[in-house]
């Protein structure tokens, strides 16, 4: 017994309903009966949708990586392994255009809805003649376009529909550790896949082990600035609070302070909002969008955040402080959080980790940053 969509073979997840056996492992995406082949989604491409232009010049390294990526796709899948802010999206543009020129279907899948909305605007500028279809929860009435940009959760609507699928941030929630979602995402592709990531974890290694792939890597940001190497402090509470206060009082920049839970977010906010202009954000906060938008506009100097802000946000001249407690953050999280520093041209900032324990993920992160900076 095997579910053709999510690949589940565990008989415990098959339930006999009125229409026969169905898979309960991927039931939240819709019911699929045992050995029922889901329908693929077909759509027409418009003319000249492959034409693209950048408002800026790509660096020589980006151009090289872009050409390597396209060449590698002729033979196998691609692991696009780049540091945060290296311009992964720019690197895959040439490949997208090449596929569209040949009348082949392309999709760009990413974890978060906010990033899909941002990418839709970005792709609309890069591909002026293409119709970009953004598909995410609550926005899936029209599934067709020349280029589909969607969340990974929406890929179940496109079974074996794409000739090129780019899965961005493979190392992030919700794909990380979610085998069902990963298999559904993979089943949306009938051709090649580009796995785009800044860190390669065990889960991704497992997926890649079953496929033939080539690695295209880029450890240089367009600004040629090194990744910020964090200063690490080991303090327990209440000394960690004093340490954080010291950092906040000395910095002239805005800062994102990452904490491990919603509870911590509110705790730190209640203390520090008495002394500093600050706000906070976590995933199910009602006015999350307003708080996120108010921060880059300069309304607040500090923002306390859970992992919500670890990806997809670019603010110039920003510091990052990570309150690493309760072993919540792994190396992928830390790399992404620290990657917020120094994004964009002439952007400066510092990074700090205040930890109450010594963790291997911190060592791994420092090792990763040193390795990336050694390419400079």
């Amino acid at each position: 017994m095997k579910c053709l969509r999510c690949g589940n073979e565990d008989p415990a997840y098959f339930y006999k309903g009125s229409k026969g056996y169905y898979c309960r492992k991927c039931i939240r995406f819709s019911r699929i009966l045992f050995e029922e082949e889901p329908e693929s989604f077909d759509y027409e491409l418009s003319q000249d949708c492959d034409e693209y232009r950048f408002d800026y010049e790509l660096t020589a390294e980006q151009k090289k990586a872009s050409a390597e990526c396209l060449a590698a796709l002729n033979e196998s899948d691609v692991l696009l392994y780049c540091v945060c802010g290296a311009g992964k999206t720019e690197i895959v543009i040439e490949s997208i255009s090449s596929y569209l020129r040949r009348g082949l279907k392309v999709a760009y899948a990413i974890a978060r809805k906010e990033v899909v909305i941002e990418l839709e605007k970005r792709f609309a500028k890069i591909f002026p003649h293409a119709r970009i279809a953004a598909v995410y929860g609550g926005h899936h009435d029209d599934l067709s376009g020349d280029l589909i940009v969607c969340t990974c959760h929406q890929l179940y609507r496109y079974y074996k529909s794409f000739d090129l699928l780019i899965i961005d941030e493979v190392d992030a929630f919700p794909l990380k550790g979610n085998e069902t979602l990963m298999n559904i995402s993979l089943s949306a592709c009938r051709g090649r896949i580009i796995f785009s990531t800044a860190t390669v974890d065990e889960g991704l290694k497992k997926v890649l082990a079953k496929r033939s792939y080539k690695t295209v890597s880029l450890f240089l940001r367009p600004s040629y600035e090194p990744l910020s190497l964090p200063q690490i402090f080991y303090f327990r509470q209440p000394f960690s609070l004093l340490c954080l206060n010291r950092i906040m009082s000395l910095t002239a920049n805005q800062a994102i302070i990452f904490v491990s839970s919603r509870k911590d977010c509110l705790f730190y906010y209640r203390i520090f909002s008495r002394f500093y202009s600050c706000t906070y954000v976590y995933s199910d906060l009602e006015n999350r969008k307003q708080n996120i938008e108010a921060f880059p506009s300069g309304q607040y100097r500090f923002i306390f955040s859970t992992t919500v802000l670890e990806r997809g946000i670019t603010i110039r001249n920003i510091d990052v402080v990570i309150m690493n407690s309760r072993k919540i953050f792994d190396a992928a999280n830390l790399v992404q959080m620290l990657g917020r520093v120094g994004r964009g041209l002439d952007s400066k900032g510092n990074s700090y980790i205040i930890s109450d324990h010594h963790s291997p993920s911190i060592d791994e992160t420092v090792k990763y940053i040193r390795k990336a900076n050694s390419y400079l």
Binding site: A12, Y15, G17, S18, Y22, R28, R31
Partner: protein
Amino acid sequence: MKCLYCDKEIDTLSLTSLFLKEDELCEKCRKQLNRERKIIEVSGLKIETFYEYDGLFRSMLLQYKECHDEALKGVFLYGIEDYINLRYFGYQLLPVPSTGTKIRQRGFDHLAGIFENVKLPRVKGLMMNREMCQEGKSLSERREIIDNYSYNGVHLNKVLIVDDVVTTGSSLMGVFRTIEPISKKIKVLSLAYKKY
């Protein structure tokens, strides 16, 4: 045994499992359903309810109805079935009918599934005059359903009308009005109520 909703292993050696039927949900999920018996009044009807249509209950019911996950049919009335059997002894059960299209699409009648283990005799002969789906409709549009039922069966004694979620109460009111002239006593029960 695994929880039907969160897939976590259920501790089957608890003290309650010696006396009660095995629950298909884990303790955590069961707790999050927030079961609380309430009598609410909607459009002049007194309706007995057990959940608020929100949070985990909403997600679970949507998984059952919209994702067609029949495995969940037994979880909603767990611990309530015996109460209904005793409280409404001598009543006939009348589930609010669903549209034929929905039943064909799902392959099962969702209300019949939920109330499968309730041992009350069923009323037959109630039908919808025309297919009307309430999904995505405004409150005023939903009220149109009141006159959309007809009954062609025998006279009824004591009837328990049941539904899954009460929002405007239009479906329940429609069924109530249809059978009121030919019934001696009518009670209304809805699994959940929706605040609006």
